[in-house]
Structure formats: structure tokens, C-alpha cells
Symmetry: C2
Subunit: 113 residues, 2 copies
Amino acid sequence: MADPLDTVFAALADPTRRAILAMLLEDDMAVTDVAEPFEMSLAAISKHLTILSRAGLISQERRGRVKWCKLEPDALRAASVWMQGFGQFEPVNLDAFERFLEVELKEDAESGA
Amino acid sequence: MADPLDTVFAALADPTRRAILAMLLEDDMAVTDVAEPFEMSLAAISKHLTILSRAGLISQERRGRVKWCKLEPDALRAASVWMQGFGQFEPVNLDAFERFLEVELKEDAESGA
DNA sequence: GGCATATTCAACCGAAAGGTTGACGATTGC
DNA sequence: GCAATCGTCAACCTTTCGGTTGAATATGCC
């Protein structure tokens, strides 16, 4: 998987990871706090964070025994440009984004993900 | 994988499938013609097309014994909107897209994908 | 009818994804 | 120093992915 688009899209293909990104949109978080709302082990979340990190979608910085996770939205730019070549989508539509985010988070809650 | 974002991003995570979409950007194509430039079996390409089709990224219409594949760029809209929520990217930048496409196709040719 | 063409199906394979558990290495607080 | 906390590692398991091959199923051509 040399192409960064491979890793970025693969990282985005998992609902847990998208939910994590949405959480980090609010604020930086420690690994344990990221894991808290999910019904899966801390180790599993740690793996998801590694995948997001390798895709460049987040950065992680250790301060003391706490590792902070930070969203890196720039990693999405290449993927965004690639996708936009396939159609003239509305430039930026944050209202629509909010709606999608709501649906995503609701689904996560329902599925207990 | 209920969420359409899951299937769309997963479909985009494979370089062969992205190359197929780029080809279909030019024109509709028959399955055999889609498969021609790739160094893999027709059956494998057929599977990739099924995945793209299930993701809604292409549609397939059988005319006679030939099955035509058509790009469906609308399927990217939801994913595009989701991504754009993470940063205010330049609206639409077709020049940048062309460059990415070139790199993608060059890599495919080199790797023989 | 009979053969070539177009596409999928089915069975199989190795590798990777996504999860678990338990042990381990740091770091902090008392 | 010692116990609790934070996070990862390692081993394992099951399912999915991406590919192969060979047979099967249309359809078109003469």
C-alpha cells in the first residue's frame, strides 16, 4: 500500500475510525478518553489510532503517561481533490456535513460501536 | 457494513478500483475493455466492478452480451461532504486533480496493476 | 446447430482486517 | 518503594479481501 490514497481511504472505511475523527474535531483527546464511548477494548482502539496515525489523519504526542491525539485534517486534502475530480460538487457545505455527522453518531450509539 | 460511507470509502481504498473509475471518467466501457490494461484476470476485474457497483460508484447495463459500465459520480457526494467537514479545502481544483490522476495512472503502469 | 465471445460463478488460496485476552513497560502519586 | 494508571505488544481467532483457475451461462454470428 504505497499510495497515500490507499491508506487514507482504507482508514476512512471503518465507522469506528470515522467516529474517532469526528470526536477529535471537537478537541484533542487522550487515548483512554477516545476509547471510552466505544464498546470495545482499549487495545482495539489503540490499533485504530495507529491506523489513523499511519494514514496521517491524526498525530499523537506523548506527554507524561498520557498520549494525546490530534486531528490532522490536511491529510484529507489529497483524497478530497481526487474525489472532486469526479464531479462538480458543492464546494463546502457545512450544513450538510453536520447532518451526516449527526446520522453517523446516532448510528454508532445505536449499534453500540 | 450498513453505512454507505463504509462501502464507498472501502471501494476507493483499492488502487485498481480507483484506476477503473479514472478510466470511466473518459467514457463508458465494456467489462472486457475495462480489464484490458490490467495484469489480472477478467474474473478479478469483474469482482472489482461488482464492488464499485454495490458502492453505487458505477452502474452496469447489459446490452446484448456486453455489459456496459458507467461512472456514477453522485455516489461520491456524501463522502465528499463528509470529508470537507474536516477542513476548508479549496473548493474545486481540477488542475490538482489532473496531477493526482497522472501520478495514479503512472503508478498503476509501473506496478503493472 | 455450432462455435466464438462476454461475463459470471464456484471453489480455493494466502494475506490482511478487526477483534479478544493477558502480560508488559512507563509514568505518576502517595 | 509500591500501587494504580496509561498505553502497547504478542498471540490468537474469525472473517473479509484480492487474487487464481476452471466450469458454466448467456448471447451473437454464420
